[in-house]
C-alpha cells in the first residue's frame, strides 16, 4: 500500500500541471494555489499518514479533477467489474472442467494433444488481442454481437448479458489455459496414485474412478490455483473493460492514469489488491472445507 503511494508521489509528474498546464492563464501562482488546495505541497510523510488515516475510515480522498469523493466513483463502477470477473471465472471453470475431462479420458491421444497445443497457444495471446479477434469475427464479419457499451442489470438483464458476452469470452479464453494446464497435470499425476490402483482392483469402471476418486483429489490444488486466477482476472479486466467500453473500476483506473488523477488511481489499486488478497484467503479457507486433511494438519 505504502509502495503504491510512494511510487505515485516520488516519481516526477504533476497532476496540477497536467490539468491546467496547457490552459491559458495558468500562472505559477495559480498552480501553487491549486496544489495548496489539494494538499500536494505538504511534506510527503504528512500526506502519507493523512491518506492512510482516511482509508481506515473508508475515505479515499477526492478526485483531483471532478472533486467527487473517490469512494463514490469506485462504488458506482464496482458492480460492473464484479459481474464481469464473476462471469469470466464461471465460464473458464466450465470450459476447463469440460476440456480436462475430454483430454484425461484418453491421455496422449489426438484430442488430448490438440487441447494441449490449444492451451499453449492460449497462454501466449494477450487478452486484448483475443478481444480484437472476437470483435472482428462476431461484430464485424457476422454482425451478431455488439462490441461496445453497457446497460445496467437493473434496466435490462437481457441487454446487459448480451453486451457481456464478448468481454466474458475474452477473459475466459485467457484464463482457461492456466486452469486447464493445472487441472490436467494434477489429474494425470493422481492416476498413478496407489488409491487409484486399489479402486481398479475393486473392479470400478474407468469413468467412475475418474469422476468420484481422482477429480475430488485434484480439486484441492486447483482451488488454490483458482484463487490466483481470480486475482489475475481482476488485473486482466482492466484492459477488457477499457476495450469494450465497460464502466468498471478497470477503465476508471486507466482513465485516471491518463489524467494523472492519483487519488483515484491509488484508491483503485488498493481496492484491487485487497480484493486479490481476500479471494486468495477465501480460496485457501475453501480448501480446508473441501479437504479435511488440510485442517487436521494445523
Amino acid at each position: 500500500m505504502i509502495l503504491v503511494f510512494l511510487a505515485l508521489r516520488v516519481l516526477p509528474g504533476d497532476p496540477v500541471l497536467a490539468k491546467y498546464g496547457a490552459s491559458a492563464g495558468a500562472t505559477p501562482e495559480n498552480l501553487d494555489a491549486l496544489r495548496e488546495e489539494a494538499g500536494l505541497n505538504r511534506p510527503l510523510i504528512v500526506q502519507l499518514f493523512s491518506w492512510l488515516g482516511g482509508i481506515a475510515v473508508g475515505n479515499f480522498g477526492n478526485s483531483y479533477f471532478s472533486q467527487l469523493p473517490v469512494s463514490q466513483l469506485i462504488w458506482e463502477r464496482l458492480p460492473v467489474t464484479i459481474e464481469l470477473t464473476f462471469l469470466i471465472v464461471l465460464l473458464s471453470c466450465f470450459i476447463a472442467l469440460f476440456s480436462t475431462f475430454l483430454s484425461v479420458r484418453k491421455p496422449g491421444k489426438k484430442i488430448d494433444r490438440f487441447l494441449e497445443n490449444l492451451t499453449s497457444l492460449g497462454l501466449a495471446i494477450p487478452n486484448f488481442i483475443v478481444g480484437i479477434i472476437l470483435v472482428i469475427t462476431f461484430s464485424l464479419i457476422w454482425g451478431i454481437l455488439p462490441s461496445r457499451g453497457y446497460v445496467p442489470i437493473s434496466e435490462n438483464l437481457f441487454e446487459n448479458l448480451k453486451l457481456m458476452i464478448l468481454p466474458t469470452f475474452t477473459g475466459a479464453i485467457v484464463a482457461t489455459p492456466y486452469l486447464n494446464k493445472y487441472l490436467r497435470t494434477s489429474m494425470l499425476e493422481l492416476q498413478a496414485a496407489p488409491f487409484v490402483r486399489t479402486a481398479e482392483g475393486k473392479g470400478l469402471s474407468h469413468s467412475n474412478i475418474l469422476y468420484r476418486h481422482i477429480f475430488p483429489n485434484a480439486l484441492v490444488p486447483t482451488l488454490t490455483m483458482l484463487g490466483l486466477i481470480v486475482g489475475y482476472t481482476l488485473g486482466g479486466v482492466l484492459v477488457i473493460e477499457y476495450m469494450f467500453g465497460l464502466p468498471g473500476i478497470g477503465s476508471l483506473a486507466i482513465e485516471s492514469a491518463a489524467t494523472r488523477d492519483y487519488a483515484i488511481l491509488q484508491g483503485v489499486s488498493i481496492l484491487i489488491m485487497t480484493l486479490f488478497l481476500l479471494t486468495t484467503l477465501l480460496f485457501d479457507l475453501a480448501c480446508g472445507l473441501v479437504d479435511p486433511r488440510i485442517k487436521s494438519n494445523k
Partner: protein, 278 residues
C-alpha cells in the same frame, strides 16, 4: 533409448526452426529501412483503409500509410523494448536471487518476501501505477517492464544457485580453500547460465505482452514513434473502417511471443534431456 534420442532430435529441430524464424523476423525489423517497401511516415501511398494486396501486404491505415512498413518499424521498437527489459530483469533478478541465496538468513527472508509481494500484485496494475508516475516513454516502459519481470527471475536464480551450492564440487572447492565469490563467478555461473538464458527468453515474451498491453491502453511510446501495441491501439479505434489494420500487428505480436516461448521451452527440454543422458 531410441525414443529419447528421437525426441531430443525433434526438440533440436523445433528450436532451430523457431530460432531461425525469430531471427528472420528480427532481421526484417533491424533492417526495416531496406526491407520495408515504403517510408512508414509517407502519406497516401494508397487510398486509406486499403485491404491487403501485393503492393501493400498489410493494407493501409487511416492516412494511407503502408501498414506493413509501419509494422516493421513498430516491431523494431517492441522487440528492442522487450529485449532491453529482459536484460534489465536478468541483471536485477540474478543479483537479487544470488544475494538472497548467498547471504541467507534475514536478508534472504526480506528479499524473497519482497519478490513474493511484487508478484502478488497484478502486473498490469503495477505497471499502470509506475508508468503514470514516470510518464510514458521508451525508457520508462523498458525499466518498468524490466523491474516487473525481475522477481520471478530472482526466484529462479536463487533456486538454481542453491542447487549448485549443495553439490560436492562446491563443497570440495570451499574445502580446498577457494573463495566463495570466485567459485560462484567461475564455476556456478557457467552452470546456471543456460537456465538463466531460458528465463531470459520467457521474460522477453512477457515483456512483448506487457509492452503491447501498456501501449494499447495509451501508456506506451508516444507518437510519432509507434510500437506494435500503439499500432493495435490506433487500429482498434478504426476497427469499423478496416479490420486488417488492427489484425496484422496483433498477429505479429502473438507470433513473436510464441517464438520466444517456443525457444525457451525447447531449450528447457533439451537441457533436461542433456542432464538425464549424462
Amino acid at each position: 533409448m531410441t525414443t529419447s534420442t528421437k525426441k531430443k532430435g525433434n526438440v533440436r529441430v523445433l528450436t532451430r526452426i523457431s530460432s531461425i524464424a525469430l531471427f528472420f523476423i528480427l532481421f526484417a525489423f533491424i533492417f526495416a529501412k531496406f526491407v520495408s517497401p515504403y517510408d512508414p511516415t509517407e502519406l497516401a501511398v494508397a487510398p486509406p483503409f486499403s485491404s491487403p494486396s501485393w503492393a501493400h501486404f498489410f493494407g493501409t491505415d487511416e492516412l494511407g500509410r503502408d501498414s506493413f512498413s509501419r509494422s516493421l518499424y513498430g516491431g523494431r521498437i517492441t522487440v528492442l523494448i522487450s529485449i532491453l527489459a529482459a536484460t534489465v530483469a536478468l541483471f536485477l533478478g540474478t543479483i537479487w536471487g544470488f544475494a538472497a541465496g548467498i547471504f541467507k538468513g534475514w536478508l534472504d527472508e526480506v528479499l524473497m518476501r519482497t519478490a513474493d509481494a511484487m508478484m502478488a500484485i497484478p502486473a498490469l496494475l503495477f505497471a499502470l501505477v509506475c508508468i503514470s508516475g514516470l510518464g510514458a516513454s521508451f525508457v520508462s516502459l523498458t525499466l518498468v517492464a524490466g523491474i516487473l519481470l525481475s522477481p520471478s527471475t530472482a526466484r529462479m536464480a536463487r533456486s538454481a544457485l542453491l542447487v549448485e551450492i549443495s553439490t560436492d564440487y562446491f563443497t570440495a572447492g570451499i574445502a580446498s580453500g577457494l573463495s566463495r565469490w570466485k567459485l560462484i563467478w567461475n564455476e556456478v555461473m557457467p552452470n546456471v547460465a543456460s537456465q538463466l538464458l531460458v528465463q531470459f527468453s520467457i521474460n522477453a515474451a512477457s515483456a512483448v505482452m506487457l509492452e503491447a498491453a501498456l501501449s494499447f491502453i495509451g501508456l506506451g511510446v508516444q507518437p510519432p514513434s509507434a510500437s506494435l501495441g500503439t499500432l493495435i491501439l490506433q487500429g482498434y479505434a478504426k476497427i469499423y473502417n478496416s479490420y486488417w489494420y488492427v489484425l496484422f500487428p496483433s498477429l505479429l505480436v502473438v507470433l513473436i511471443i510464441l517464438l520466444f516461448n517456443a525457444i525457451a521451452e525447447n531449450m528447457r527440454i533439451s537441457m533436461e534431456s542433456d542432464k538425464s543422458s549424462s
